[in-house]
Structures are given as C-alpha cells and as structure tokens.
C-alpha cells in the first residue's frame, strides 16, 4: 500500500511516500517560507525524483492538527484537492502523536512540545510498551508549560522532549524538571511526514480514515472572535 504523508502544521513542511514498510522518499524543510509556496513544489520534486505516477497513491495521511492555523489550512486544502482528484481516502493523524512516533522503540516517556504561544504548548504524553506498541498516555491538547512539567515530575520517569516548542521552553524545563530528561536529536526532533505516513498506515489498518469531503483540521482552539462572543454571552447569562 502506497501512502503519501503530509505535515505542514508548524514551521516544518514535510512530504513523504511510503510503500508498506519502506520509506521511498521524504522531503522535509524547516525554513521561514510560507507553506503555500513550498509544499506543492516539494511534493512535485519528490514524485519526479521517485519516478512514480501520483495516481499510484492509495491514501493520503496528514497531520490533522493542532498547529499553526495557517499551516493547518494550507495542508488541509492541499490534501483535500489531492484526495478528491485521486479519489483516495484521507487518514487524519493527530499532529502531536505523529511527532512522538518519531521516537519509535524508545523506552522513555515521550513528550512533544509545539509552541502554542501564551506560555502554552500543544503537548501530550506517550510511550512504547514492552512489545513496542504505541501508547497514548495523555491525549494532545494545549496546556500551560507549568502543568506539563508538573505532571512529568510527578510521573518520575525518564523523558525525552522534542518539537518546535523545545527552544521556546528549554529554559523552563532546565529550571523546573526534576526527572532525568533529554532532547531528541536533529533527525527526529520535528514533524516528519514519514512518521505521519507510518502512523497513518496503522490507522488505516484499523479502518480509521475519512474522505476529502469530510476531513476537517483539528485546531483545538476556537477563533478569537468566537471566544470573545462566548465570554460575552457567558457574562450576560
């Protein structure tokens, strides 16, 4: 089964093609250029380099969110355009889960951190058990960095941090973490479409997928206008 993986949820833009258990190719950049100018040219380069026909893709796995609102909608609209034209299913993979999946086989707790501004991170807590089964200990959500580190201190287990929130929260972690911690190395410290496609394959095998029409990004946060309107309604109630 041939899966196209796409992740444009953060600063990284990444596309990958997997055939079952083989990564045919991956193109990942972490560069301050809008994804609308990079994502499709990268996909085109990758497909050309691999010498395959885009029509041979069986499914598209994408980081569904959370992430940058703009990044998520560029990714979602791109995925919808491709999946609709190719008539293939969309496999929606939680962004933070896919980042954690980069550390397959690790015996430590895995704590991805994506900068969510306002001293918050989109984070979750993961591990691989004795049989290397991927276990979601805590589902992804936006949370204050203090609460994330407090929980890790209470768990009292070695942990690996990764994600684009690491440089943002490194000082805080160094000052406040009381457990054995480390940071993932460059090749697996950010979003990678190869991980999205690999985890997406597992979702697909469990028949967990949707269509171009039905797929919606998971923002995990409402727009500012909606929040303010609800606060007003709450205050008047």
């Amino acid at each position: 089964m041939r899966i196209l993986g796409i992740d444009s949820s953060g600063l990284v833009a990444s596309v990958a093609v997997t055939d079952d258990d083989v990564l045919l190719g991956e193109f990942t950049t972490d560069y301050k250029k809008t994804h609308s100018t990079t994502l499709m040219p990268m996909l085109d380069e990758l497909i050309k380099m691999l010498g395959i026909d885009i029509k041979t893709i069986d499914a598209i796995a994408t980081a569904e969110g959370p992430g940058s609102f703009t990044g998520l909608r560029i990714g979602a609209a791109t995925v919808k355009g491709l999946a609709y034209a190719l008539k293939v299913p969309v496999i929606a993979v939680p962004t933070v889960d896919a980042i954690a999946y980069n550390l397959y086989g690790s015996k430590r707790l895995i704590c991805p951190l994506m900068d969510a501004r306002r001293q918050q991170a989109y984070s979750g807590l993961y591990r691989f058990d004795e049989t290397n089964e991927f276990v979601v200990k805590k589902e992804q959500e936006p949370e204050a960095i203090k609460d994330i580190i407090d929980r890790i201190n209470i768990a009292d287990e070695p942990v690996t941090f990764l994600g684009d929130g690491v440089p943002v929260f490194k000082d805080y972690i160094e000052k406040n973490a009381t457990v054995d911690y480390d940071f993932a190395p460059a090749f697996c410290s950010r979003q990678r479409a190869g991980a999205v496609a690999s985890l997406g394959k597992k979702y697909f095998d469990r028949e967990f997928y949707t269509s171009a029409e039905e797929f919606r990004p998971v923002y995990l946060r409402k727009s500012q206008a909606e929040r303010e309107r609800e606060e007003k309604a709450g205050a008047n109630a």
Partner: protein, 336 residues
C-alpha cells in the same frame, strides 16, 4: 477550434464558489456556498471563521460544480483560482485546493485577479461585449473605475483612497441598526425614504479626479446621527438610508460620466457586489442613455463573488498562454 472548459474557484472573502464555464462565456454550473448567516452574528466577516468554513466547504462545492456541469474532472482543460486581492486565510484555501487538484489531474493552473474576475462577469452576461469598454467595479472590498483595453488588460483610472463603496454601506447600515450585510439592507430601507431629505457630501480627491473617497461621507452620516440624537430628534432610518445611497450613487455616476466624456468609449459596464444595487443600476443606465453609450450589467448572481467570473477571466488568460507555478501564493493586496 475545440471548446475550452475552465473550472473556476473563488474563496477570497465569505463565499466558497466554483463553476465550470465553456470558452469564457457559457456557464455550465455556478455553485456558491455563502457564509453570510455565520458572519451576521459578528456584524461582519471574521477572517479566521471564514477561512475555516472555506476548508469545510471547498471539496463539496467543487464537486457539485463539476457534477451539475456534467463534466468529469478529467474533462476540465484548466483550473483558474482567485489569488488576490482579498483576505489571506480564505484566499489560501482556494489557492491550495486548486493547485493540488490541478496537479493531481495533470491540468494547467492559473491564478486570477479577483477584480479582473468581476469585470469578466460581463462577458458571460453579454455575448456581444468585447473590449475596449469602461467598467465601474464596486463591491464590499473594492471601488475601481477601469478602462478595459483588451481581455485581461486594464488601465485603472481611479480607485478608492479609503473605504470601498460597499464598506461604507456596511458601516452606515450598522450605525442605523440595520446590520450585516449593509448593501441589500440599505437598499430595502431606502425604498421608503426621501433621498433629498438630508444633504450628504460627495467627496472629491484633490488632483486625482477619478479616485473615490467614502470615509468622509461615512463620517458625515455618523455626525448627522450623533447630532440628531443630541438634539433629541427621532432618526428617520429610511431617510438616512435613501440620502446616503443617493450620495454614493451620485459620486459613482459623476465619475462614470467624466470617464465617458474623456475617453469616448461607446460601452460602459458595471461589476461587483454593489452592482446589484437597483439605484446604482438605474442611475448608470440613465447616464448611458443620455450619452448614447451601451450599458452592460451582469445578473445579480454574477455580481456577487462567484466562480464563473473567475473561469471567464481564466479563459482569456489561458488562451494567452498564461500559466501559474505550483509556488503561487495568495496575495491579499494584489493590484489590478
């Protein structure tokens, strides 16, 4: 010559739209999914909400447009999409979808200027219309007086230096409690009012006779409302709406007359959302009759933001050999 079928996609503001048009003139389908009911809750378009709604609707709207046209995706000759001007988030949805769809179907892809789209709506409405002609583009975001030199080739004579005409409608509608969207609501209210009851100014822009300014008019209306309120007078909404509308239509018509006199074109067209305003249509039509100039105006469904106008503009650019790259970005401030 075989027929050219273009899929047009538009998502620059609060309508998700797609259409299939043959040879720039014959509309096979024109699907529009409006978000007006949602934005009405906020008194205007909220960009983040608009962007999210476009993502939810785009696939279904394109699918409906293709199905109603009886055109399988493979039979499309090219995909045309609005890439500016407009709201960046909404624009990115259409641009990203169109690019990916065209790429997967191995079809040419073109980014289209939204204003060029509005002007091109006239080609759909009137089979006989050919450049050169003059065109007044008036909408919620734009006010342009343009000389159409050839298909897709424009000379902008004047544009608004502050608010767009439609924006002034929205702001005044809000001030007199009519709500969003202001254009249709003011027009309806104005029908019961006396347009000569209040004298509002028609602003001119010094040294740039073709440019427009509507913020002064908007302020004049707000000042009038304030003044009346302080004096304890009851506001006659219908009279305010009618007098305000008359001032806007008057300014637009004055500019149109100046352009007809100076450039001597024998055709004049209007375009954009505000071009469905009955008072504006009647005023420009009367002007054209007086001057012996042929008047063109699209049906209201082609005045509002739609995919057919983008496909029509796309057709002429496609024939010129214009193609966009996969790195095309949204350009919210794109000029005509």
């Amino acid at each position: 010559m075989s027929d050219i079928k273009i899929l047009g996609i538009e998502s620059s503001c609060d309508e998700t739209a797609a259409a299939v048009v043959v040879n720039g003139r014959e509309v096979l389908s024109n699907e529009i999914s409006t978000q007006i009911p949602i934005h009405t809750l906020y008194g205007g378009v909220v960009p983040e909400i608009a962007s999210r709604k476009h993502v939810e609707r785009i696939t279904q709207v394109v699918d409906l447009a293709l199905k109603k046209a009886g055109t399988p995706p493979g039979e499309i000759d090219a995909v045309a999409v609005t890439y500016g001007p407009g709201l960046v988030g909404p624009l990115l949805v259409g641009v990203s979808f169109a690019k990916a769809f065209a790429y997967a179907k191995q079809k040419p892809f073109l980014g289209i200027n939204h204003i060029s789209g509005h002007i091109s709506a006239n080609y759909i409405e009137a089979a006989d219309l050919k450049p050169p002609f003059l065109c007044l583009v008036v909408s919620g975001g734009h006010t342009h007086l343009v000389r159409v030199i050839d298909y897709g080739k424009y000379e902008v004579l004047g544009r608004t230096v502050d608010d767009a005409a439609g924006e002034a409608f929205d702001k005044v509608a809000r001030a007199i409690g009519l709500g969003y969207p202001g254009g249709p609501k003011i027009e309806k209210e104005a029908k019961n009012g006396d347009p000569d009851s209040i004298e509002f100014p028609r602003a001119k822009v010094a040294d740039h006779p073709y440019d427009f300014s509507f913020s002064g008019l908007k302020s004049a209306v707000l000042n009038y409302l304030n003044h009346e309120k302080m004096a304890g007078h009851e506001i006659n909404r219908a009279n305010v709406a009618a007098s305000f509308q008359k001032a806007v239509v008057g300014a637009l018509t004055d500019h149109a007359e100046m352009a007809i006199d100076e450039f001597g074109e024998d055709k004049f067209a209007i375009a954009g959302g505000v071009a469905s305003n009955g008072a504006l249509r009647a005023s420009i039509e009367a002007l054209c009759q007086r001057k012996g100039v042929k008047f063109y105006r699209p049906a209201p469904i082609l005045c509002t933001d739609n995919g057919a106008m983008i496909a029509a503009a796309g057709y002429y650019e496609f024939e010129e050999g214009v193609r966009s790259g996969l790195d095309l970005n949204a350009e919210p401030g794109l000029m005509l």
